[in-house]
């Protein structure tokens, strides 16, 4: 039996909505003198083991979290959690956690930390910040941030007077997709994506290994589609788990995905397999696309992609004939090459031609619900004295900012110097390409502050380390969930913070106080703010505390119908197959194929991806998850391995085109990868000695990404441009 809504409400009611579980016991069982039994308490909250933000119910016994389960009311979890979600307990009780504030007493990056009180550490940071402000201006402090903590530190930074923040989630992840879909449909596909996979007749995964990226509700829907015999088409140089479910696996030559997409569009237009009515009614620029893709025939694409033209035609027909119930997965980590936006534009155009946007089995429409914005304070931010530099010269860079621009500006001191960095919730050494640039930039700083839970590689470089408590020990801002229906999810502490760690909001507020910015933090505790927010939105706070999630089912209108017409927020009000906005800024209005360099003989393209039990580099030390995957392996094609005399599980070293050597890594000899690629799961080989389990386990893909391309449209990075060779000398 799953926890039904009714049962769960009963449980929640029994806990009285108390956020933090005390110990409650039954002291006497009918007076029979049995030992007192601790009664478990069940407290709902929101997960942060990845960015999916599933609803969680924590089972707490004697003040200890013993089990985490998915909240059945929450659409991202639906009563289930992935391995990482269950492994959240491992983060909470990891003995390697940051326990007190630390101040580095050695040279920058030397990590000769002394323990400090919060007062001392925050005073130190505030003092340095004021000095940088006096000398260079407030804009010279930048923030690299990820996760829920971003809310408070972006607020603090802007109150202080700097607009310079950047999140890896844009340039290093899904930014290109966001830009491409905004240009085409007037909005991004959401986070989590609004994908109607459970109703798809055809699911196309192009460079997206669903299952290995354990995005909870999406995996659930993918399995549902597979169970209902949907045709799965997987385009990947590697035989991923998803490829194991596929009717068609297209082991594409890396860097040629755009050729395949354009060729599919060619076939679909030539054979009249597009949705003529939909295209006429909702799109503009069809003729321009039809003209532009004429040259991209399957025969041409075969030479580029290594996929037989007959297979390109067959799959195009399967896609076309099942329209509009086709899901071309827009992907998440889209930072591949220098033409990321154009590749993603091709995905968007193909989706539109199939009439799959706003249709069952395609991309469903946003729920219709407007909530009044509630800010952390009513006070306006001061106007920065210098222009923001965090978007670089990229005309379509997003609001999240561009991380490599911050690094470059710090290095070059152009257009003005950056002298202070805050890094909150992101492991910069594992997130950003070219670690040498990052390290050199750090040497130019006068202040580097890290706020995190664990001593990740990036944290070890900081002058001051401020230990945040985990998501199971704190309140955070409410999460607005835009699944099929709109909803609100709460994060609340299920146990008290351990050690001397503090919630992110508290750290930002206390630092704000010391900077004379207390007016920007008008609430005493974050719960006060949440209550006020709920009141403004007309939500019963106590109900939210008890249930963890409140849904607004009336907001659900996923498909286009006669009385649910989509609004495209593009300049033309239509789906722009031909983008005037791109044309105006000097870019191709319809995607054109760009050829990328292929590895020379004896070299392999380094590709990387995810494992279902780890999130980036953030979980490799988690005792529960480490146990299941202690290190990564280098996937090498079996023929290549045989030629080189390499045996499965031998240790090898990878060396990239710039001579950078990886840590030793076991080889996985497999048929599941092309001969011209090597694959690593991302995030391994921590260099932080304080991560006792993860330290130097496996190889770090990011270390080998010394070279990167930049997409001139968005600033999205291309990180699949590095070539490696194998050395047996370990």
């Amino acid at each position: 039996m799953s926890i039904t809504r009714r049962n769960f409400l009963k449980i929640a009611a029994a806990t009285g909505g108390l956020a933090i579980a005390g110990t409650s016991t039954v002291t006497s069982v009918l007076g029979l003198g049995k030992k007192p039994v601790s009664l478990p308490q069940y407290i709902p909250t929101t997960c942060e083991m990845c960015f999916w933000r599933c609803g969680v119910i924590a089972k707490v016994v004697d003040g200890k979290v013993v089990k985490l389960d998915g909240n059945p009311l929450h659409p991202n979890s639906r009563g289930k959690l992935c391995a990482r979600g269950h492994g959240g307990i491992g983060l909470l009780y990891d003995p390697d956690r940051l326990k007190t504030p630390l101040i580095n007493t050695g040279a920058r990056g030397e990590a000769k930390f002394k323990k400090a009180s919060w007062d001392e550490a925050l005073g130190f940071v505030a003092d340095k910040m004021q000095k940088i402000k006096e000398k260079y201006g407030a804009e010279s402090i930048a923030l690299l941030t990820h996760g829920t903590i971003s809310t408070y530190f972006m607020h603090l930074l802007q109150a202080f007077g700097s607009p310079n923040f950047a999140m890896p989630s844009f340039a290093l992840c899904r930014g290109a997709r966001g830009v491409a879909f905004e240009l085409t449909f007037g909005e991004d596909v959401g986070n989590p994506e609004r994908l109607d996979i459970q109703n798809s007749k055809v699911v196309v995964l192009i460079g997206s290994h669903l299952g290995e990226n354990a995005h909870n509700s999406q995996c659930q829907e993918f399995a549902e589609a597979v169970g209902k015999d949907a045709t799965v088409i997987v385009v990947d140089p590697r035989f991923s788990t998803a490829a194991g479910k596929a009717k068609y696996w297209l082991p594409i030559k890396p860097a040629t995905d755009l050729a395949l997409l354009l060729s599919w569009i060619n076939v679909i237009i030539n054979e009249g397999l597009y949705d003529k009515e939909y295209v006429a009614k909702y799109t503009s620029g069809f003729n321009e696309v039809a003209m532009a893709v004429k040259e991209y025939t399957p025969e041409w694409a075969e030479k580029e992609t290594d996929i037989p033209s007959s297979l390109i035609v067959d799959t195009a027909r399967v896609i076309g004939k099942n329209r509009p119930h086709v899901l071309i997965h827009p992907g998440r980590h889209t930072a591949w090459y220098s033409d990321n936006v154009q590749r993603q534009r091709a995905v968007a155009i193909l989706t539109a031609l199939l009439g799959a946007y706003g249709r069952p089995g395609g991309i469903y429409l946003s729920p219709k619900k407007k909530l009044e914005p509630v800010f952390l304070s009513d006070k306006d931010y001061p106007e920065p004295q210098k222009p923001a530099l965090n978007k670089g010269d990229y005309p379509f860079a997003g609001e999240e900012g561009v991380t490599h621009v911050i690094v470059k500006a710090t290095l070059t001191e152009q257009p003005y110097p950056i002298k202070g960095w805050f890094i909150t919730g992101t492991n910069i050494m594992k997130a950003m390409p070219n670690q040498r640039d990052t390290l050199s930039a750090i040497q130019k700083l006068e202040l580097l502050v890290a706020v995190d839970m664990m001593p990740y590689d990036g944290v070890m470089l900081a002058d001051v380390v401020l230990p945040e408590c985990t998501y199971l020990e704190r309140h955070d801002d409410l999460f607005t969930v835009k699944e099929r229906a709109f909803g609100i999810s709460i994060r609340q502490p299920v146990v008290q913070p351990m050690y001397d760690s503090k919630p992110g909001w508290w750290i930002a507020k206390e630092l704000g106080k010391r900077l004379g910015l207390e007016d920007y933090f008008p609430w005493n505790t974050f719960e006060d703010f949440l209550k006020m927010k709920c009141e403004t939105w007309g939500i019963d706070y106590s109900e939210l505390v008890k249930k963890g999630y409140i849904s607004f089912p009336e907001s659900e209108a996923p498909y286009i119908t006669s009385d649910n017409q989509p609004k495209f927020k593009t300049p033309s009000g239509k789906i722009e197959l031909y983008s005037k906005e791109l044309k105006e800024k000097g870019f191709d209005p319809v995607p054109k194929y760009t050829k990328h360099k292929q590895p020379p003989e004896g070299w392999f393209r380094l590709i990387y991806g995810r494992a279902p039990v780890h999130t980036f580099s953030r979980t490799t030390n988690n005792p529960s998850l480490w146990e299941l995957m202690k290190e990564n392996t280098a996937w090498v094609n079996a023929k290549v391995a045989k030629k080189m005399g390499l045996k499965n599980e031998d240790y090898i070293v990878l060396i990239n085109q710039d001579g950078v050597k990886s840590n030793k890594v076991r080889i996985k000899v497999t048929e599941r990868i092309r001969e011209d690629c090597i694959y690593l799961v991302h995030g391994f080989s921590s260099t932080s000695k304080l991560l006792h389990r993860a330290y130097l386990r496996g190889a770090d893909d990011q270390q080998l990404i010394t070279k990167y391309d930049i997409d001139p449209i968005s600033g999205s990075v291309g990180m699949r441009v590095n070539f490696v060779k194998i050395s047996k000398e370990v």
Binding site: V66, L81, H86, L210, E212, A214, Q220, G244, S624, E671
Partner: protein, 185 residues
């Protein structure tokens, strides 16, 4: 007596490993041990490949060699028909571990035999085993085979189900449907 069985729809397993961790946390399984695993089997040559992801656990066999091998009756058939271990009676002789053809048992750091219990404590409360509850793909399905209306009964009526090492004659209560490869279990 109910006949609890698990049906594993191999095709719906996406290898997310949620079951493995959920089981560990639910049952407080010792570090370094697992009561269930997901085995990946790949056959063929690039690019003509097939892959099967197969969850494995104690089969709660009807003819359970572990029960026969146990000298103290610590391994026994419980009232609900599942195969269980009475830790108080276990003397750590490991005979059951050797007797099990499925490699489903291990010896805990305290020296007693341990394995999947089908989450008997949860069954008692009317819940599904933890691995089933959290299975993202709904690849693990649990229920009473004696109830003709149960999902497991319906599924086993519809599919040709396989069991692991059928030739061992243990009559497992874990069934596999939609298998890609016959045998080889």
């Amino acid at each position: 007596m109910p006949k609890y069985v698990m049906v594993i729809d191999v095709e719906r397993c996406i290898g997310c490993m949620a079951c493995v961790i959920a089981c560990k946390k639910e049952n407080n399984v010792a570090d370094g041990y697992f009561r269930t695993r997901v085995v990946e089997e790949v056959r063929g040559e690039f690019p003509y490949l097939k892959m099967e992801l197969r969850s494995e656990l104690c089969n709660h066999c009807e003819n359970a060699p572990c029960i026969d091998a146990c000298p103290t009756r610590a391994s026994h058939r419980a009232k609900d028909g599942t195969v269980q271990i009475d830790k108080k009676k276990c003397i750590g002789c490991k005979a059951c571990i050797l007797a099990c053809p499925y490699d489903a048992r291990y010896s805990t750091p305290e020296g007693v035999a341990d394995k999947c219990t089908f989450c008997e404590h949860r069954i008692k409360e009317g819940k599904k085993p933890a691995c089933v509850e959290t299975c993202l793909g709904k690849s693990r399905i649990f229920g009473d085979l004696d109830d003709p209306n149960s999902e497991v009964s319906q599924l086993l009526k519809k599919h040709d189900a396989a069991v692991r090492l059928e030739f061992a004659g243990t009559k497992p209560r874990v069934f596999y449907i939609n298998k890609k490869f016959a045998g080889g279990l």
